[in-house]
């Protein structure tokens, strides 16, 4: 509201801060899109540019992360709310044979790679657990967009790719619930009751969403306006309560989404709230950028490159196996693997969580690592998809 004109030199506040942040994110994304770089890391880059570590360092007006924190949190809640909305337990059960094997391979190949990397680079057990998650989770946003842009969406490989992404959503919901409890730290005796409360809260949300959503649906469904505002209110209140009891706001948002997704309102909600999610997600990605010091990212370059060199092929392998489990040819299985390489929004959500850790090494190294890693993997992954023909010839996987 009132912008203190006497505020510290070079800091933007309120409305102007938000506007400049979004403008920076969108401008960088617009430039990058011309050369085919996915937008998620570019939004982050936009945030880096107007953040205290770049703009601030050269004496230009910059934006403090705290300025847009709440809006960034809304972005996280809506991202996970949408995952929940698209998540269908029936669909998962229908494909369980192929999918459970593919999901197990995906988890047990990629998560340990991340854990090993975390331990190797001296982050300790908690840090390794977080790096495991960052390395494990593929980017639904980047991958889905590439599938559509390249027309792979009409090919058989779309099925295992989207199947694995949906299964990962469920894994990441459980993972985030655990990670939030673990990151808060403290002795096991202190932590246990807190973890119990947090998990209990999330279970209650999941159950309540299943039971109450069908009843809440009619009053919310009167007009589009009521629908949007009402859904937003429910999602934010539940997510906010989750935060206040030390549970993951993102996972709470996920379960609210699952509840709404099971009602007939599903399609309308998806349609009306998508633009809202897109807008707030940009704020979240740019906020990650505000927190990022490019020098710190450069400092973990060796870590990022090692992770890329190991986890890229690991995803290729697990995705390839998923393709085979779905009965696809070697060439289509290779494409399944390539498609699953990009990492993005969820790795950044885990990074934002790591930044709150009381362990200074974890709080400093992991966010910087995650930003560098997502930049590299989303770019390499989408590039690999668009160059799939060449890679197939290179590897000799060509259909006769």
């Amino acid at each position: 509201m009132a912008s203190g004109s006497t505020a510290a030199v070079g800091e933007l506040h309120g409305l102007l801060a938000l506007g400049v942040l979004i403008a920076a994110a969108v401008s960088v994304a617009a430039v990058g899109r011309r050369v085919g770089i996915p937008t998620v890391p570019l939004y982050v880059l936009g945030g880096v540019l107007v953040g205290p570590h770049v703009a601030g360092d050269v004496g230009l007006p910059s934006i403090a992360p705290a300025e847009v924190l709440t809006l960034a949190e809304v972005g996280v809640v809506l991202l996970l709310f949408f995952l929940g909305l698209e998540f269908s337990i029936d669909r998962l059960i229908a494909a369980r044979r192929k999918l459970s094997a593919a999901t197990a391979v995906d988890l047990f190949v990629n998560f340990p790679v991340g854990v090993a990397l975390g331990l190797l680079f001296g982050l300790g057990p908690l840090g390794a657990f977080l790096v495991g998650g960052i390395v494990y989770i593929s980017s639904s946003a980047v991958i889905t967009k590439s599938l559509v842009d390249l027309g792979w969406i009409a090919n058989p490989e779309a099925e295992p790719v989207l199947g694995v992404l949906v299964a990962e959503d469920l894994v990441i919901a459980v993972y985030l619930a655990l990670a939030v409890a673990l990151v808060a730290g403290g002795s096991p005796v202190d932590a246990l009751p807190r973890i119990a409360v947090a998990l209990g809260f999330l279970i209650a949300v999941a159950l309540a969403a299943q039971l109450l959503a069908p009843r809440l649906a009619p009053p919310l469904g009167i007009s589009d306006e009521d629908l949007v505002v009402g859904t937003l209110a429910v999602a934010l209140v539940v997510a906010g309560l989750a935060l206040s009891v030390g549970a993951s706001e993102a996972v709470a948002g996920f379960f609210v989404g699952v509840g709404v997704g099971a009602t007939p309102l599903h399609d309308r909600v998806a349609d009306r709230i998508a633009p809202l999610r897109d807008a707030f997600a940009v704020v979240f990605f740019a906020w990650v950028g505000l927190n990022t010091d490019p020098v710190a990212v450069a400092g973990v370059a060796a870590f990022v490159l090692a992770a890329a060199a190991l986890s890229g092929p690991a995803k290729l392998l697990s995705g390839g196996i998923a393709g085979r489990l779905y009965g696809l040819s070697p060439r289509r299985s290779l494409r399944t693997g390539l498609a699953l390489v990009p990492r993005g929004e969820f790795s950044l959500i885990i990074a934002a969580l790591a930044a709150t850790s009381p362990d200074p090494t974890v709080a400093r190294v992991i966010p910087a690592f995650a930003v560098g890693y997502v930049l590299v993997m989303s770019f390499v992954g989408t590039l690999a998809m668009s160059e799939a023909d060449r890679i197939e010839r290179l590897l000799g996987v060509v259909e006769g």
Binding site: E86, L147, W152, I153, A154, L162, S329
Partner: protein, 181 residues
């Protein structure tokens, strides 16, 4: 012909339609309503995008392909087959038709042809289940239901009178399968 339907989580739905030996038409319906239509020549080849349509356009194109598109265009007629024998046809009433300027009752449609008029479209205004006393003007479109013979009799009596170009309506049935390979 088999149609396969599958979900595309986060994107929408996919329908695959067998159109040849191995060839399939793949239609991706996005959650936004946008349709993308692809052709896949064989199980192993990549889908090539043929075209994409907005939601509204896709519905119109679909109606045309279905043969049920309802728009008064001179001498054009459209039919919808109900079961083996019954069908519904749309006809614009020519100025020289006996029906032009008459009521349905006066033209004695039912008794002379066996077919019934179930709707009359006058400009943008549609009268479903018109009264026998309802008038029909030249340029109006009438929707007729009956057996093949009855509908043909209706055409002969009221639409193709005075040797206007013959029963050109009959070929509009199953022309939508793009079998060219």
């Amino acid at each position: 012909m088999t149609v396969y339907e599958s979900d595309l989580p986060g994107v929408g739905k996919k329908h695959e339609i067998e159109v040849g030996d191995d060839e399939r038409l793949v239609i991706v319906t996005h959650n936004t309503g946008r349709r993308e239509v692809f052709r896949r020549r064989s199980a192993d080849s990549d889908a090539e995008m043929l075209f994409e349509l907005s939601d509204g356009l896709a519905r119109t194109v679909g109606t045309v392909l279905e043969g049920a598109y309802f728009q008064p265009v001179a001498t054009d007629s459209i039919e919808t087959v109900l079961g083996d024998d019954a069908l519904i046809e749309w006809h614009e009433v020519p100025a020289d038709s006996e029906l032009a300027g008459e009521t349905i009752e006066a033209a004695d449609v039912r008794r002379r042809t066996g077919a019934s008029i179930i709707a009359v479209e006058h400009g943008d205004e549609v009268t479903p289940n018109p009264d026998p006393g309802a008038g029909v003007g030249a340029g109006d479109t009438v929707v007729v239901i009956g057996s093949r013979e009855e509908v043909a009799a209706f055409r002969a009596a009221f639409i193709d009178s005075d040797g206007r170009d013959g029963a050109a309506a009959d070929e509009s049935g199953g022309g939508a399968d793009a079998d060219a390979s």
